[in-house]
């Protein structure tokens, strides 16, 4: 790895440190503030489990961040991460409980706007939706859990000292669980931007285990978060935590448990696969704000205690932080990108070419855009997003959202079907033998656009004992994204047009 690469990744490491410093309070704040768990013990447990979560559970949410905006140049990733890291560190200094997840969204949108890249409306709605649902869900979980535990303690007439011992153990266990889910869910914020440009190669450990480049990247991010927890977490716990989390240890246990359940629900690829296999609706895998989940849970416990302990003033301050964080990161990213590109002359976006083909138009039409006016553009190449945008806007027929659809679908993205080892590509959701056979039949096929691959997969019929469907239909959204990532060819071997 070159010094330049390391320098660029350093902003992700800084962001990881900020996240660790700021979010340790969400995981062990109550336990440490109530003196139930010593800070040193909490930091060690949190550090270990954050790293484990980041390395082994971090893949799911990263895809959503990349879907929102694929920051594809190292200097761009560096600048966005640095902007978000500064925004988070600055707000931590101002004692505002800030959400890294929200800040990163602001940063990526800043990059999209600066580079003229389209912002995926679906991804942004998915993320915004969870900003509302996650605190509500955490509040509901906390309410039910608190009532259940309160009933149990009263009914069982457990000695206060035993309740204390159980709570202490429980706080450590849920703290570890919350740390794991924090690592799994939030590593996307720290290192997600560098995934498309990871400088690491896969390392095979024996013949069974492969330590992928992304996992190595996540390990670095996880360690950065752990260092943040160790070096600055206690300070934030004392400043931010004492206002927010002055609740009893038992309530604290419920809060952290509810938080980790919610974070788990929104980051578990395994759970998504399980729900899908049972034909149940799935939850989107989105990097959530653990701060939001904690606040939701605190309100839930407050409601379970008939409204006692809810400090509306503090809640108002937190809500303001939720709005300020993404805006601050957005503005900072935008301004910093300008300087990096124009003063330091670093490319913040990789050169992308666009090509309008018949299949692209077909895909555009399936998204409800009228394509009659653009048929003459078929076969034309565009050397940048700006060129294609100017051409389309010159036609004066399309809204900004429709232009974004063109930009997303017409971008040249070389994909080569490689059926070797595809069965394990989708991680927890391994492909079925029939799907692998269908891929083998398409081995070596090259596609210029992801929509070309979609159409080819849609034409490939697979038959199982009970039913028959197309290959595309048989794949889950996660599997589709995983296969697209796996088949993507790096720019050096993009086939000539």
């Amino acid at each position: 790895m070159s010094a330049v690469t390391l320098f660029f990744i350093s902003s992700g490491i800084f962001l990881g440190w900020s996240l660790g410093a700021n979010h340790a309070v969400n995981v062990f704040g109550t336990a440490v503030m109530s003196k139930m768990v010593r800070y040193r013990v909490a930091a060690v447990v949190a550090g270990i489990f954050v790293v484990l979560g980041a390395v082994f559970g971090g893949a799911g949410t990263t895809r959503t961040i990349n879907q929102l905006g694929a920051v594809n140049a190292m200097a761009g990733s560096f600048t966005v991460s640095l902007a978000v890291g500064i925004a988070v560190a600055w707000m931590t200094k101002l004692k505002l409980p800030v959400s890294t997840s929200q800040a990163i969204v602001g940063g990526v949108i800043g990059w999209n706007l600066f580079t003229g890249s389209p912002t995926d409306g679906e991804a942004i709605m998915k993320i915004l939706g969870t900003w509302v649902t996650s605190p509500l869900l955490a509040a509901a979980f906390a309410f039910v859990l608190f009532k259940a535990i309160e009933w149990l303690v009263k009914r069982a007439r457990v000695h206060m000292l035993e309740v204390d011992a159980y709570t202490r153990t429980g706080l450590l266990v849920v703290g570890a669980l919350a740390s794991y889910t924090l690592g799994a869910n939030n590593i996307a914020n720290v290192m997600g931007l560098f995934v498309s440009a990871t400088p690491f190669n896969d390392i095979a450990v024996g013949s069974v285990l492969t330590f992928t480049g992304t996992q190595q990247l996540f390990l670095i991010g996880g360690v950065a978060i752990a260092v943040g927890i160790f070096t600055y977490g206690q300070h934030v716990m004392v400043t931010v935590g004492s206002d927010l989390y002055r609740i009893t240890p038992l309530s604290g246990f419920v809060v952290v448990l509810a938080e980790s359940i919610v974070l788990f629900l929104f980051s578990s690829v395994w759970l998504e696969g399980l729900l899908r296999s049972m034909h149940l609706p799935t939850l989107p895998l989105v990097p959530l704000s653990s701060t939001q989940a904690v606040i939701g849970a605190v309100v839930g416990v407050g409601l379970a205690k008939h409204g006692r302990g809810i400090n509306l003033q503090v809640l108002g301050k937190i809500a303001a932080g939720w709005v300020i964080a993404p805006i601050a990161a957005f503005l900072m990213a935008f301004v910093m990108l300008f300087f990096v590109q124009n003063v330091f002359e670093q490319p913040v976006i990789a050169d992308s070419q666009y090509n309008v083909t018949a299949s692209v138009l077909k895909a555009v039409a399936t998204e409800g855009v009228n394509i009659d006016e653009v048929k003459p553009l078929v076969g034309k190449n565009f050397s940048s997003a700006t060129q294609l945008r100017n051409t389309l806007e010159g036609l004066d027929r399309f809204s900004k959202a429709e232009v974004s659809v063109f930009l997303r679908l017409a971008k040249i993205d070389s994909l080569v079907v490689d059926s070797v080892g595809t069965a394990s590509v989708a991680g927890d959701q391994a492909l079925a033998p029939a799907q692998v056979r269908a891929l083998k039949r398409m081995h070596g096929k090259v596609f210029l656009h992801p929509c070309d691959m979609e159409f080819a997969f849609s034409a490939a019929v697979i038959r199982t004992d009970s039913s028959s469907s197309t290959l595309w239909e048989s794949l889950s959204p996660e599997q589709r994204i995983a296969l697209t990532d796996a088949f993507r060819v790096r720019s050096s071997i993009v086939p000539k047009m």
């Binding site: 000695h159 206060m160 000292l161 035993e162 204390d164 240890p249 006692r308 302990g309």
Partner: protein, 214 residues
């Protein structure tokens, strides 16, 4: 799990043992005063010695519990209340012991007509301390039951005030010398203090319960 909570169970049993000592102290006190009033001085002195041992044991046990709670940062949110309760309950046992000791040192002359009221006063005062201990035990396991104990303590305390007043009225209307009258009044006041101190413990207990419900 049993190994994990070994220390917790140890502190738990120490607290129970400490509270048992207060209850046992009350019983020994009642017996001691009865022997004194019946003139069985040897047995009285024996009870006094037992009670003094009990008080010493209770003090040692209380200090052990306090250091355990602090060193192992147990029940951090209720530790202050628990220590306050244990310390003020200790004062009940101290008053009980001191009062019996004063019988031994000052040898008060209790007229025959107030011996029965004196024993009733002792009975009700010790009932106060017993229910105080019951309330503290309930505080650890069953918060809802604390209220019943507090109500009983308040009722018994009012009764002891009334009884002590009757004893004093009877004494000061008798033909005894003023010094003896004042001496008997002094003893009735000391026995009444057992109930007063128990009531103070219950005031703390009531606040501790409110804090637990917050």
């Amino acid at each position: 799990m049993a190994l994990l909570f070994k220390k917790t169970h140890l502190v738990e049993s120490q607290i129970d043992e400490y509270l048992d000592l207060i209850v046992q102290g009350g019983i020994v006190f009642k017996e001691g005063v009865r022997f004194y009033l019946e003139g069985r001085m040897e047995e009285f002195e024996e009870r006094l010695a037992i009670l003094r041992d009990m008080e010493n044991n209770a003090d040692t046990l209380r200090r052990t519990i306090e250091s355990q709670l602090y060193l192992r940062t147990l029940i951090p949110e209720s530790r202050g209340d628990v220590l306050g309760l244990l310390e003020s309950a200790d004062r009940v046992l101290n008053i009980i012991t001191d009062t019996l000791l004063e019988f031994s040192v000052e040898i008060p002359v209790i007229p025959a007509n107030v011996r029965r009221p004196f024993q009733d006063l002792i009975e009700f005062s010790i009932n106060c301390s017993d229910h105080t201990v019951g309330g503290i035990r309930a505080y650890f396991r069953n918060l809802e039951a604390v209220r019943d104990h507090i109500n009983k303590v308040q009722l018994y305390r009012r009764e002891t005030n009334r009884m002590a007043e009757n004893i004093k009225r009877t004494i000061f209307r008798s033909r005894m010398t003023l010094s003896k009258k004042i001496h008997v009044r002094y003893f009735s006041y000391h026995i009444e203090r057992i109930a007063e101190q128990s009531d103070d413990v219950c005031d703390r207990l009531a606040i501790a319960v409110i804090k637990k419900y917050e």
